[in-house]
Amino acid sequence: MDPNTLIFLAFILILSIFLGFEVISKVPATLHTPLMSGSNAISGITLVGAIIAAGSAGDETMSIILGILAVTFATINVIGGYLVTDRMLGMFKKKSTEAKK
């Protein structure tokens, strides 16, 4: 990696952190658990890196093992994280809809 790339990536990192603080500080306390499980799913984005690792491993055994494990763990995060967040958020109901039942 050349230093210019590093600066460029660091720039993106810093701006994203500020953006994250802005957006997430508006999430109400009542949704903090879904926020955590949902952000778990987002941190499963490592899957992108894992796919590249597993897909470029060739036929070298150790690379293949590392790649498969990385894809598996990241996929658990993505699939499990989004599904459980959806399940939880489905439970939050407003009073008016409650009365109709």
């Binding site: 990696m1 993106i12 508006k26 999430v27 658990t33 499980s37 490592t46 470029s56 763990f73 599904l83």
Partner: protein
């Protein structure tokens, strides 16, 4: 068009969808759609990555997808809402190990990479490893596999400091000569894992909300570090969003306990069970279900203050039933939730939502406290420290200065409790002896059911 430019373009769209998804989490009405939008972003990012030129072989990817999808889908379907903290803890760990493996894979593929890349590999492995083993310990404590007590030993801080120094020294050796340092690299992996374990074992079960928030943040940072390794923007953006989210939650939790992060991480709070603070004297006034019913029946506003004890007693559903009966009786019903009630941020809200309590009745501490003196009856169920007035008045109390829900300002307070035994960390609670407090002894579910039966009968 160059395929890699196309892939990066889609990554931008994915990042936008993640941000919008998180923005929609600002209201329960739009949150579910927001989660879906975020999932679409993830889907786009993953599918386009498969088009990338570096991918020469798909079957290992498919194998990982299949195993991960099966485990993830089952875990998400089967987990009980009371177990959400354990699930989030272990998922943080999976995020960490995935970043560690990506870093390891990158090093394994090109051991003679440029120094800057080697630095990012080191960070990715270090943060990922600490996140993984720390999360496993947190999971073990939450699910009580390891026991929730803080584990302290003599010289713990010295040992941790030495391990950190060893990691830094090994890191420098590794960065100087990466292509001949495979053994040093493995040593770094192992030391990172040990550091994660040692960092979490001294922290008590009641402080776990802080720890899983912090580990949540680390799992994001681990993804960021992996993003630097493979020079991928989408990993950096998403990792930063998650990192920020974890830090915000950690901060909220610490404030709600009036403690610094350093105090939570290093003090071993709760290891000593000596309850300090003034011994409280006085007479408790027990009450039976029939009398509780008569008071509730006459009340025009009732606030329930649930703690984790409510979930332990599985009393959410019967409390909601009582709430509905009170409303039908013309009473205003709210649920006041302290930020550290439950085992993770927002945990009580999810448990009550599961029991069909509408979210507009869930009120935050800062909204209920100013109007507490207009409340006729405050019903404390399975909560103790978060309603302890000693936090306001007794400077010797270990929880002095912690913000509490001021239930003692309500006209009457019902406290549901198994017995007069002291709560966590044995902090005496003067609330129980107050003039306007009535104790309803027994199992919370049985007590509330008895009141509900009175209403119906």
């Amino acid at each position: 068009m160059n395929i890699d430019i196309f892939v990066n373009f889609i990554y931008i769209i994915a990042a936008i969808l993640f941000v919008f998804g998180l923005k929609m989490l600002s209201s329960p009405a739009t949150a579910r759609r927001g989660n879906f939008i975020s999932a679409i972003g993830m889907f786009l990012a993953v599918v386009t990555t498969l088009l990338s030129k570096q991918i020469i072989d798909f079957h290992w990817i498919v194998l990982g997808f299949v195993i991960g999808t099966v485990i993830g889908a089952f875990a998400a379907r089967l987990v009980a809402m009371t177990q959400m903290p354990e699930m989030v803890a272990i998922f943080n760990g999976f995020g960490g190990i995935a970043s560690l493996l990506v870093g390891w894979g990158a090093y394994h593929a090109t051991p003679n990479a440029a120094t800057l890349t080697v630095v990012t590999i080191f960070l990715s492995v270090l943060i990922g490893g600490v996140t993984f083993s720390g999360s496993i310990v947190a999971w073990g404590k939450l699910s009580e596999v390891f026991g929730g007590k803080p584990m302290l030993f003599a010289g713990q801080k010295v040992v941790n400091a030495l391990i950190l120094l060893a990691i830094l020294a090994a890191g420098i050796l590794f960065m100087i000569n990466p292509d001949t340092s495979y053994n040093i690299f493995l040593a770094i992996v192992i030391l990172a894992l040990i550091l994660g374990i040692l960092a979490v074992i001294p922290i008590g079960g009641a402080d776990m909300p802080v720890v899983i928030s912090l580990l949540n943040s680390y799992s994001g940072l681990a993804a960021c570090a992996a993003g630097f390794v493979i020079q991928n923007n989408i990993l950096i953006v998403s990792g930063a969003l998650v990192g920020a989210s974890g830090i915000i939650l950690t901060n909220i939790m610490c404030k709600a306990m009036n403690r610094s992060l350093a105090n939570v991480l290093f003090s071993g709070f709760g290891a000593t069970t000596v309850g300090k603070g003034k011994g409280v004297q006085g007479e408790v006034k027990p009450i039976v279900a029939e009398d509780a019913y008569l008071i509730l029946e006459a009340a025009s506003s009732v606030v329930f203050v649930p703690g984790y004890g409510l979930a332990v007693a599985q009393a959410q559903h019967v409390v909601r039933e009582l709430g509905e009966l009170l409303e039908a009786n013309g009473c205003e019903v709210n649920y006041a939730i302290h930020p550290v009630a439950g085992r993770m941020p927002g945990h009580m809200n999810v448990l009550l939502a599961e029991a069909n309590v509408p979210y507009d009745q869930l009120v935050e501490m800062d909204d209920i406290n100013p109007v507490m003196n207009t409340v006729d009856v405050a019903v404390v169920i399975g909560a103790n420290d978060v309603v302890n007035p000693a936090a306001r008045s007794d400077e010797d109390s270990p929880i002095y200065g912690m913000p509490i829900i001021n239930v003692d300002y309500a006209k009457i307070v019902f406290v549901l409790k198994r017995s007069m035994a002291a709560g966590f960390a044995g902090i005496p609670n003067p609330l129980f002896f107050n003039e306007n407090t009535r104790m309803l002894f027994g199992d919370a579910k049985a007590s509330i059911s008895a009141v509900v039966a009175e209403f119906k009968g």
